[in-house]
């Protein structure tokens, strides 16, 4: 065994390489559309990675993660909408006609998602267990219904995004550019989250998941740390939502629906909870399953349901856990 090269590291490295060369492989296979499909997977993986931080490491089962995903998407959608229409963005103390500039939209998307996550987290973390699950669901549903009712942005029908975000040196209408932007974001997010979970902050989260009472008795105000983790996860979901809005050129309340939250949770589990890397694997497995199964039968959900149940019951470590084994550095 070469020093430092464990099975775990090999798998992670292989994933990185695959991520980097995928468009080339797609072209070689004569199916450039694969790159587009891969972009979708990568975008979802970003949101899922943030969710793994709070579910897998902090032990907080949030059933409202899609709310922050949707908020990020709406931030981009609303700013783009007003920019195209040359109308004023409502509720601001100054007159502003939105923006098509990605360097303006994206930070705002992240900020909006983070603010809502901080507020929702502060209230939700006053509860635990199943109540936490229910209250995060409730807040997400409130936002969902709010956007459904908002006639300004077409309510349930959602907003079309007529022009993708502009970035210097990038053309988001170029499939390769979009893919590499998303992949770069994913790599950065995973790198950041891996640093976080191995840091002192991460130790506190992991200890809190195992025995909250003990950690509090040692003198650690656990709720504070969880709130920060919740906010970080929300911000990352907002970033993912901003990318997704561009990808589908649309934003609607369905992006905030609890079934979307459920989908994110499924990806966390399928990939392997408590690994961060599992986020990409989970997205590949779920979205990949959806694609392949729907080619076989239009009733693919008939198989997805039982597969999910079986994974939950018997294969908890998920696909990444199966491939890579235990993290030697954890």
């Amino acid at each position: 065994m070469i020093a430092g090269l464990t099975r775990y590291r090999i798998v992670v490295l292989a994933g990185l390489v695959l991520l980097a060369v995928f468009p080339l492989i797609a072209n070689a296979l004569g199916d450039p559309y694969l790159t587009v499909q891969a972009t979708r997977i990568v975008i979802y993986a970003i949101a899922v990675a943030g969710l793994d931080l709070i579910i897998g490491f902090a032990g907080l089962v949030s059933f409202g993660h899609a709310a922050f995903f949707g908020l990020g998407a709406y931030a981009v959608g609303i700013l783009a909408h007003h920019a195209m229409d040359n109308t004023t963005v409502p509720f601001l103390p100054f007159a502003w006609h939105g923006s098509l500039d990605g360097l303006v939209q994206f930070p705002i998307a992240i900020l909006v998602a983070a603010l809502f996550a901080a507020a929702i987290g502060a209230l939700s973390l006053r509860t635990t267990g199943v109540f936490f699950i229910m209250i995060t669901l409730a807040f997400a549903q409130m936002l969902f219904h709010f956007f459904v009712s908002l006639p300004t942005y077409n309510g349930e029908d959602g907003l079309n995004i007529w022009e993708r975000s502009r970035f210097p040196g990038l053309d988001l209408y170029n499939d390769h550019h979009f893919y590499y932007l998303s992949a770069a974001v994913l790599v950065a997010v995973i790198w950041l989250l891996r640093r976080i979970v191995n840091s002192r902050f991460g130790v506190v989260l992991r200890a809190g998941r195992q025995n909250e009472q003990r950690l509090v008795a040692l003198g650690v105000p656990v709720k504070r740390y969880r709130l920060v983790a919740f906010t970080i996860a929300g911000a990352i979901a907002g970033l993912s939502g901003a990318l997704n809005a561009n990808f589908v050129e649309f934003v609607g309340p369905s992006m905030m629906h609890w079934s979307q939250s459920g989908e994110f949770m499924v990806m966390v589990i399928l990939g392997g909870m408590g690994s961060i890397h599992g986020a990409l694997v989970g997205a590949v497995v779920l979205l990949g399953l959806e694609e392949t199964l729907s080619d076989i039968t239009e009733h693919w959900a008939l198989f997805l349901g039982p597969i999910l149940i079986l994974v939950v019951l018997f294969a908890r470590k998920g696909v990444f856990g199966f491939l890579a084994g235990r993290d030697p550095d954890a």
Partner: protein, 248 residues
């Protein structure tokens, strides 16, 4: 004699039952203060009231001169009031070394550090190893709590709590379920703390209590019925009737 911890008139009711009915305690700095009594006397409730995990219906708690009655558990621990549990309360996926390192980490103020890997942080790991070794526990350093025995877990819990350099310890039956050698080791460890760390020791093992304690309070049915040095407690008629029987 300076008082480190003072409880006055603590009352805690569960439904119609007063588990603590007017509990007052005075624990002198640097002393080992024993708290004994039959099962159901309310000793664990008293510990929970002192640690902040339970809120009293009446009464107050003063620690190092300040009123801490309204303080939540983590704030009390930050001030140096640490505890152990009847069943060792630990992090089962972590190793013994992880526990002591975590304790040292809590002394650093806050843990909002996101980039340095904690497991490779020598400023935490090296002192943690030293502390484990000082208690003869270096063999447990890399063992996960889930994989070690009950008695060893107790020792790890004590090591962890001592690593926070506490001012005072609330120990809830630390000898329970321990074998003879382990018991003797713990008595030595606790004895060595006298004068440096104030200890309130809830115990059923009378030999241990009478050997270690400077002062003993006896609780029966939610109330203290006698307080004094071991000899006077042994001789106290009310205590004998209520609790010790033929043991003294």
């Amino acid at each position: 004699m300076t008082t480190m911890l003072k409880a006055e008139g603590l009352v805690k009711r569960f439904g119609g039952l007063a588990a603590n009915d007017g509990v007052s305690l005075d624990v002198a700095e640097g002393s080992i203060h024993g708290l004994i009594g039959p099962n159901g006397a309310g000793k664990s409730t008293a510990i929970n009231l002192l640690s902040g995990e339970a809120k009293p219906d009446e009464g107050s708690v003063t620690f190092a001169g300040s009123d801490i009655t309204a303080l939540p558990p983590h704030a009390r621990a930050e001030r140096g009031l640490q505890r152990s549990y009847q069943v060792a309360s630990l992090f089962h996926e972590f190793t013994a070394l992880d526990h002591v390192a975590l304790a040292l980490q809590t002394r650093a103020g806050h843990s909002f550090r996101f980039f340095t890997a904690a497991r490779r942080d020598a400023s935490l790991r090296d002192p943690a190893r030293t502390r484990l070794a000082a208690l003869g526990l270096e063999g447990l350093a890399e063992r996960r709590i889930a994989d070690i025995a009950h008695g060893e877990r107790r020792q790890v819990e004590l090591a962890m709590v001592l690593a926070t350099d506490p001012t005072m310890l609330l120990l809830d039956e630390p000898m329970a379920g321990m074998g003879r050698t382990e018991r003797e080791a713990m008595v030595t460890t606790l004895g060595a703390l006298k004068g440096k760390v104030t200890i309130l020791l809830v115990e059923h093992d009378m030999d241990v209590v009478f050997a270690l304690a400077d002062i003993i309070t006896v609780m029966v049915k939610g109330q203290p019925i006698a307080t004094g040095d071991p000899a006077s407690i042994r001789a106290d008629a009310a205590v004998r009737t209520a609790y010790l029987g033929d043991m003294a």
